[in-house]
């Protein structure tokens, strides 16, 4: 008995000591002013090196919280909302417009106009400066080159409703992430009736709805479906892996492809507002856009004159959808509710 107790007591003591150490190590900071807290929904593999480079360059400690894929956790937007009365973050770096706009409408963000935003076209900036877009991804059609010849590949997203591809198409759950932005953009572009019609046809064509864009890509890679809708960076992962896939930037002759910029915003009543602004300046720099284009994130620079990613056509070679990002993203919640019965979600 006494041995059991001794063992147990020793174990508990040790563990408590360890956690105290870990707690101190984690929260201790040498100088409050010399750090900045950023919540990041852009994939950690891509964003972490960018933030590490900033630390190296400036000596400012970057405290980052990374997000998961939209369908795996409720994520940072909810954390930011819940923390609204006592904000912990200074900057929010989102990989798509929907969450940024949701946070703007709920009063979580503060306006900030960065000098580095000057070279970025006005479409990708908020008129009220609550967010600034940079490095964009595109919503594309991915297809398996073993199953579909390039000349047969669909040119428009309308082609996905063609009965000849029946049961051979996958999309990610349109309630979340970049797909939610895409469907909201389509509703904004086409109007409710035409958009409803398109999704009804898609459903009738046996579209497979899966949990994420990476799953869409994996199903195409594994020949379980012939094609699907996903993001450029997801396709690039498969291209780098030498998988038999190719992408189509849809609707070159019609409405154009949906372009999704990253968005960066300052948090209202942030603990380190000035440090936050400096980090935003850095993220909007040509240097970061170049890095994000060069890395496997293959993101398209929005500053003109920056070299684009190798597997993706340059910005001036395809037709981007003309979008009012604020208006499109503000439709998401309403579109989600509309689509639930249509797609049987």
């Amino acid at each position: 008995m006494s041995r059991l107790k001794k063992h147990a007591a020793r174990l508990v003591g040790l563990l408590l000591a360890a956690v105290t150490l870990a707690a101190c190590g984690g929260s201790h900071s040498t100088s409050i002013t010399n750090e900045v807290t950023i919540y990041v929904s852009t994939d950690r593999v891509f964003s972490e090196p960018i933030l590490k480079a900033y630390e190296q360059k400036t000596g400012v400690k970057v405290q980052a919280v990374y997000d998961t894929e939209e369908t795996k956790s409720t994520g940072l937007a909810n954390k930011l909302l819940a923390e609204k009365n006592n904000p912990q973050a200074d900057v929010f770096w989102s990989n798509e417009p929907v969450r940024t706009l949701a946070l703007k409408s709920r009063g979580v963000l503060a306006p900030y106009q960065s000098a580095n935003a000057e070279g970025i076209p006005a479409t990708f900036k908020d008129a009220e400066n609550y967010w600034t877009g940079f490095s964009a991804r595109i919503r594309v059609i991915v297809y398996n080159t073993n199953l579909v010849k390039p000349e047969q590949a669909p040119k428009s997203i309308y082609d996905l409703a063609d009965p000849k591809w029946r049961g051979q198409i996958a999309i990610a759950d349109p309630r979340f992430g970049s797909t939610s932005f895409h469907v909201a953009a389509l509703y904004a572009e086409l109007g409710d009736e035409k958009a409803d019609e398109f999704f009804r046809k898609l459903k009738a064509n046996g579209v497979k709805i899966v949990s994420g864009n990476s799953v869409v890509r994996d199903l195409v890679v594994k020949s379980e479906v012939k094609m699907g809708l996903t993001d450029t960076d997801d396709v690039n992962v498969a291209l780098e892996d030498k998988q038999p896939v190719a992408m189509v930037l849809p609707d070159r002759d019609g409405m154009g492809a949906a372009l999704m910029p990253n968005m960066v915003s300052l948090i209202a009543s942030a603990p380190h507002t000035e440090a936050g602004k400096k980090l935003i300046d850095y993220l909007l720099s040509v240097e970061v856009e170049r890095e994000l284009a060069k890395s496997e994130a293959v993101q398209i620079p929005l500053h003109s004159g920056v070299e684009g990613p190798k597997n993706i056509p340059p910005l001036n070679s395809f037709k981007p959808m003309t979008l009012d990002y604020g208006k499109a993203a503000s439709r998401v919640e309403d579109v989600v509710k509309r689509l639930q019965p249509i797609l049987g979600l």
Partner: protein, 534 residues
């Protein structure tokens, strides 16, 4: 009734007031940490965007037809997974406790593996396997396959619980019965009723785990309440609606708990104090066949998914960033989950003791329901509730901005289940032990620490292990409350798997499984060591 209890207490214990004070304090602490986040969120759900009291979130629950389908799916998922887990786990537990199967320790260790594999990973492996076998997608992505995966995930709980219970049964009772009855009747009328409480309690815990699980139905696209709660958070940012949607989940849990209590009935349990375990179950010429069956279960439930993961991981290059640099996260996870499990057991001990020593049967049942309902609150709801409660200037804020908040989250989620397990264990220790101690002049604290706790070793170890395993895999609340900087391994895995090839995901999942197994093996060794020295 209450008065009688109090006056009797005064006879039993020398310092009734100190006992009452300590227990009240413990109960208050338990409620603040475990129940307050859920209560806070319930409050949020009753307030509309204009800040007025409103029942809109709940009106929806009753009026939308969609809700009935969700209710049906959630119940089928929970009941099916619980039944399957018990069907697989209970016979295994019995074999491990009583039979002469060779290499029992190895079987136990191998067969317990699914509990440390996050169910989500098991589901991933299953979809890859189904894909490679060219199974129709409708098969892989269905309520049935979600049920089977959860059943396979959780059977080790039924196995371990039944083994423990079967070992605790007093051999003398069975021997005495054998004098007058056939072995089958002894098994049905003596052994089964004695292990039934443990079995039904575990079935209930599995039911709750299955209805509260988000990862598997999310991946397999089965609409249940957890996925609906998720949608309310992730797509609509509606905290009130999300909380309201978790109420049916709690109601299902309550119903299941009541059903379990009725099925079990009020069996009077005795603790084992004979030196012999229950009657042996010699398999004779059936032994090889039984061992083959064990091998089959091992193959289907453990080897096949792990093999699928390994093949998937091996077929693609690995991101060094994913597998390397995980040292800090691994350390954090091991330290936080061990401390979390220890604190959860400590926090649960006195509330569990209170429940076990409750005089009123109805009161005892109510507290059980309270524990199990708390355990069923979705992690995300707890996470948002914790932010609302702890993210404020002052002491609370200091905890919120440090890794201590992760410990608070572990406590909030898993102390209730620890309390449930501990109170079940304490109910098996006769009150007469404590009475005897009191007669001999020991105070209640002394009798608790010197008599009750030493008799509770197995329950303590079980509660600690369960809390540890759950904490090690916790993601729903952790990801919301974790402060900036490297946090736990599951959070690292989840933040890294976005956009990486499935091979990396498989490699990370394998790594998490292996690392979760290590502390368990250590614990098993430690227990054997203790077993020898005691």
């Amino acid at each position: 009734m209450m008065n009688a209890a109090v006056t009797r207490n005064q006879h039993w214990f020398d310092l009734p007031s100190s006992r009452a004070a300590v227990l009240c304090l413990a109960a208050a602490l338990f409620i603040v940490i475990c129940a307050l986040p859920a209560i806070y969120m319930f409050g949020v759900s009753l307030i509309n965007p204009d800040g007025e009291l409103s029942f809109d979130n709940y009106r929806r629950l009753l009026t939308e037809r969609r809700q009935y389908q969700l209710l049906l799916n959630s119940m089928l998922l929970g009941a099916g997974a619980s039944a399957l887990a018990t069907l697989i786990g209970a016979p295994l537990g019995l074999l491990l406790a009583r039979s002469d199967v060779r290499g029992k320790n190895w079987w136990r260790l191998a067969l317990v593996v699914p509990i440390v594999v996050p169910p989500y990973v098991l589901a991933l492996a299953w979809t890859w396997f189904a894909g490679s076998m060219k199974m129709p997608t409708e098969w892989a992505y269905s309520l049935t396959s979600a049920t089977v995966i959860l059943g396979v995930s959780f059977y080790p709980l039924a196995m371990l619980a039944l083994e423990a219970a079967a070992r605790r049964v007093d051999a003398q009772l069975e021997e005495a019965a054998l004098l007058v009855a056939a072995p089958r009747r002894v098994a049905m009328n003596i052994t089964l009723p004695l292990v039934a409480p443990a079995l039904s309690a575990t079935a209930l815990v599995i039911f709750v785990l299955a209805v509260a699980e988000f990862g598997v139905p999310g991946l397999l696209r089965v609409n249940v309440f957890t996925t609906e709660v998720f949608t309310a958070f992730a797509a609509l940012y509606d905290f009130g609606a999300a909380t309201a949607l978790s109420i049916p989940l709690l109601l299902i849990t309550l119903l299941a708990a009541i059903a379990a209590a009725i099925v079990t009935g009020e069996s009077r349990l005795t603790s084992r104090h004979s030196s012999r375990a229950g009657l042996p179950l010699p398999l004779g010429r059936w032994r090889s066949l039984v061992e083959a069956a064990l091998l089959f279960v091992l193959f289907v439930c453990v080897l096949l998914p792990l093999l699928t993961l390994a093949l998937e991981a091996g077929s693609l290059r690995l991101t060094t960033a994913a597998l390397g640099d995980s040292g800090r996260a691994v350390m954090n996870s091991i330290v936080l989950s061990s401390v979390g499990a220890t604190l959860a057991v400590a926090l649960a001990m006195l509330p569990g003791y209170m429940r076990a020593r409750m005089k009123s049967r109805r009161g005892g049942h109510l507290i059980d329901l309270f524990f199990i309902t708390l355990f069923a609150v979705p992690g995300t709801v707890i996470g948002i509730g914790l932010i609302g409660l702890w993210n404020r200037p002052g002491m609370a804020g200091m905890i919120y901005t440090s890794p201590l908040i992760i410990l608070v989250a572990y406590l909030a989620r898993f102390a209730p289940v620890a309390a449930l397990l501990l109170s079940a264990g304490m109910q098996q220790i006769p009150v007469s032990f404590e009475e005897a101690a009191a007669v001999a002049g020991a105070g209640w604290w002394r009798s608790l620490t010197k008599i009750t706790l030493p008799n509770l070793k197995t329950s303590l170890a079980a509660a600690w292990t369960v809390a540890f395993v759950f904490a090690f895999g916790e993601i729903g609340a952790t990801i919301l409350v974790a402060p900036p900087g490297e946090s736990t391994l599951p959070v690292r895995v989840y933040t890294l798997i976005a956009n990486t090839p499935s091979g990396n995901v498989a490699a990370l999942a394998l790594m998490q499984t292996v690392i979760a197994l290590l502390p368990l093996m250590l614990l098993a060794l430690l227990m054997r060591h203790w077993g020898r020295t005691l």
